[in-house]
């Protein structure tokens, strides 16, 4: 196995080319780029595509993204009395999802509520994950008094009921912009994630490879970003989605009950109108008015859950390696290997 002949010329100078490989392994810039593309874009996409849940989830989310960007351009905003009052679903070709009591196109309303909704979701998700990641990693990695203080704060934030607190704040300071709404709604959503991340960091920081990096004098910043945070990605992604769902549920609920000011169109606002103006509860005639936004919400939430489950796989190096290699045309023995390990474990 060992090449003993190299030893004969063994000087003690280690900057000697003894250990430099003869072959030219320099890669062309384009090749490097394509490698990076494979590792960071192609492989994750392929992994997602591999799993039916993730595939459906991504498609659903993509649909909503398109709706919130291109859809807004393609579909004209709803105007009063553009159609008959309370037309049902698929009754005409013009208003696919029917119209409301003022003759507005429900489909157009839903489409035009999407951008604000997306802004809100992303704001809430980003706020939660960023705050939680910072607090969780700092607390776990630094330890000491700072850790105690941060975790006590997290515990309190975790205990205070989110919705009532948000309601109180919202009543006192009505938020206007969707981004503010998103952040307000996730005001204490970070706490649970921060705690989970902290215990994960505590475990990871004891791993030998982190200690090895410390021993190599790798800066803390690099250790955190390269050695520690990648291990947290599954948590972060799953919780990003969790936070996003929280924002959807919370905002729609609060708009629905009319607690949040109707500054922007929102699916919850449509629900509210159907509930209060349409009397959806009492007659079948207006049921579509209520169902349309409802299904919109449920579908997005469904897509997000499926997507989160798929993301779990993207961050698993075992699965990722297989895809990068597949692409390079290397023989794929991983599947066999895994089965074999499970069997040999039993032997």
């Amino acid at each position: 196995m060992k090449s003993t002949d190299t030893k004969t010329d063994g000087g003690t100078d280690i900057d000697h080319d003894l250990f430099d490989s003869g072959s030219d392994v320099e890669l062309a810039r384009s090749e490097q780029l394509s490698n990076a593309f494979t590792e960071y874009v192609y492989a994750p996409v392929m992994i997602l595509w591999d799993d039916w849940r993730a595939r459906i989830g991504s498609l659903i989310i993509l649909g909503y993204l398109l709706m919130g960007t291109i859809g807004v351009i393609l579909v004209e905003p709803a105007t009063l009395h553009e159609g008959p009052r309370l037309e049902g679903v698929f009754e005409g070709t013009e208003f696919l999802l029917g119209t409301d009591i003022l003759g507005r196109d429900l489909f157009a309303m839903i489409v035009h509520a999407t951008p604000a909704m997306l802004q809100m979701i992303i704001a809430g998700g980003v706020f939660t994950t960023v705050v939680a990641t910072i607090i969780g990693t700092v607390s776990g990695y630094k330890g000491g008094v700072l850790d105690r203080v941060l975790m006590t704060v997290s515990d309190i934030a975790l205990t205070i009921p989110g919705l009532p607190l948000v309601i109180v704040i919202v009543v006192i300071f009505p938020p206007q912009h969707p981004v503010t709404v998103g952040i307000l709604l996730s005001i204490n959503a970070w706490a649970g994630l921060a705690r989970a991340l902290r215990s994960e960091v505590l475990a990871v920081r004891e791993e030998s490879y982190v200690e090895a990096s410390r021993t190599m004098n790798v800066p803390t910043r690099v250790i955190l970003t390269k050695d520690i945070i990648p291990n947290l990605m599954p948590y972060i992604m799953v919780n990003f989605v969790g936070a996003a769902r929280g924002v959807i549920f919370g905002s729609v609920g609060l708009y629905f009950l009319g607690i949040l000011p109707f500054t922007t169109l929102n699916w919850g606002v449509i629900l509210n109108m159907a509930y209060t103006q349409g009397g959806s509860l009492y007659t079948l005639e207006t049921i579509h008015w209520f169902l349309a936004p409802m299904i919109t919400i449920i579908l997005l939430s469904y897509g997000l859950i499926l997507f989160a489950q798929g993301m779990d796989r993207v961050f698993n190096p075992r699965i990722r390696a297989r895809h990068v290699q597949d692409d390079a045309g290397t023989e794929d023995t991983e599947d066999d290997g895994q089965i074999q390990t499970t069997v040999t474990e039993q032997i």
Binding site: T152, D155, I156, L158, T159, I160, P161, G162, L163, P164, L165, I167, V168, I169, V171, I172, F173, G192, R195, S199, I248, F249, V252, G253, F256, L257, I259, Y275, S280, L281, Y282, L284, I287, F290, M294, I297, I298, L299, S301, Y302, I305, L306
Partner: protein, 335 residues
């Protein structure tokens, strides 16, 4: 012992923090309730403002005396709240504690029952799914659960209300007991209470048991893969013992933590749920207070709901040490 003191201390501290936040929101922030109330009162008295009277009224309602320095206001407020004085409702002209004290048992009943039922169903389903891991039943149950989990509870509430309440009129659409029934220890009263709680509880349970089931499934599967289970079989223990004392016990323990987390979620949700079903619990009053800008009630509800959650979690946490020997006396994390 140490552990108990620590946990109780932490709980008190949490309530303390919430009360402080509530004080901050009421008093300190410009345009906050105290200021608004004051402006309102001055306006009401139409120019002939008697500042002293206004201040007295403000204090009566919010426990805050605008003329005193901030720290004194803070101390007064804290003392008052911890003595159970949450101020006086602007709308009902009654002490907040009286209104909410009446409402709290209903919220606890509604949410406690929902939580309990949802956990029982979730655990049973999860255990069955784990037992038949990988089967068609498992796969379809998982998909079904994901779908149910995607439905916000208030939408489930509205849908149930629509079909079972208004359309078919099987269940009442609001209230906590029938109008003709007198609160007493009679069967009729209990019947009526249960009857009125079916829809709110169902909407909560339907949308939340899935999470428990998935968690339970995961726990049970990992327990089934443990060495001690294999050894127990090799030891020739009876199946009944293995199922109850090995699988069930060890799979259930981690669920306890999930229960603690759910307490907060469920109680928080009571605001929306009670409003939809016009169920006169704390959440309902809180909601009413929003419309009428009844800040004392609003703040009181926040403090009360938090206290209920903190106590719930505390009980769960302290009993956890009783059932899991591994945490006894150790410095365990709360969640």
């Amino acid at each position: 012992m140490n552990y108990f003191i620590k946990r109780i201390g932490q709980s008190v501290f949490t309530i303390f923090a919430v009360v402080s936040i509530s004080f901050g929101l009421i008093r300190l922030l410009p345009g906050g309730p105290a200021a608004q109330l004051r402006a309102q009162l001055i306006q009401d008295s139409a120019g002939a403002a008697d500042m002293e009277r206004v201040n007295r009224l403000v204090e009566l309602h919010t426990n805050i005396q605008p003329s005193k320095p901030v720290w004194e206001q803070y101390v007064d407020y804290m003392v008052a709240v911890f003595q159970g004085d949450l101020g006086e409702s602007l709308w009902h002209n009654e002490p907040v504690s009286a209104i909410l004290g009446e409402a709290l048992p209903w919220t606890v009943f509604l949410m406690g029952t929902s939580l309990f039922i949802s956990f029982v169903i979730g655990i049973a389903l999860g255990a069955v799914m784990a037992y038949y891991e990988g089967s068609n039943f498992d796969v379809s149950a998982t998909s079904g659960i994901i779908l149910l989990n995607s439905i916000p509870y208030y939408i489930a509430a509205v849908v149930l209300l629509y079909f079972l309440g208004y359309q078919m009129q099987v269940f009442p659409t609001g209230g906590h007991y029938g109008s003709g029934v007198e609160p007493s220890l009679s069967i009729g009263f209990f019947r009526s209470v249960l009857y009125h709680s079916v829809l709110p509880i169902s909407s909560m349970v339907i949308t939340s048991f899935g999470g428990t089931a998935i968690a339970m499934r995961g726990n049970a599967i990992s327990v089934l893969g443990n060495d001690y289970l294999r050894v127990a079989r090799l030891r020739g223990l009876r199946d009944r013992r293995i199922t109850m004392e090995y699988v069930a016990r060890n799979a259930l323990l981690p669920m306890y933590t999930g229960l603690m987390m759910s307490i907060g979620m469920v109680f928080g949700g009571s605001v929306i749920l009670e409003e939809i079903f016009t169920y006169p619990g704390v959440g309902y009053y809180m909601f009413q207070a929003i419309g009428s800008r009844d800040y004392p009630v609003l703040m009181g509800s926040l403090i009360l709901i938090t206290t209920a959650i903190v106590i719930g979690i505390l009980i769960a946490d302290l009993t956890y040490g009783k059932i899991d020997p591994r945490v006894r006396g150790e410095d365990r994390e709360v969640y």
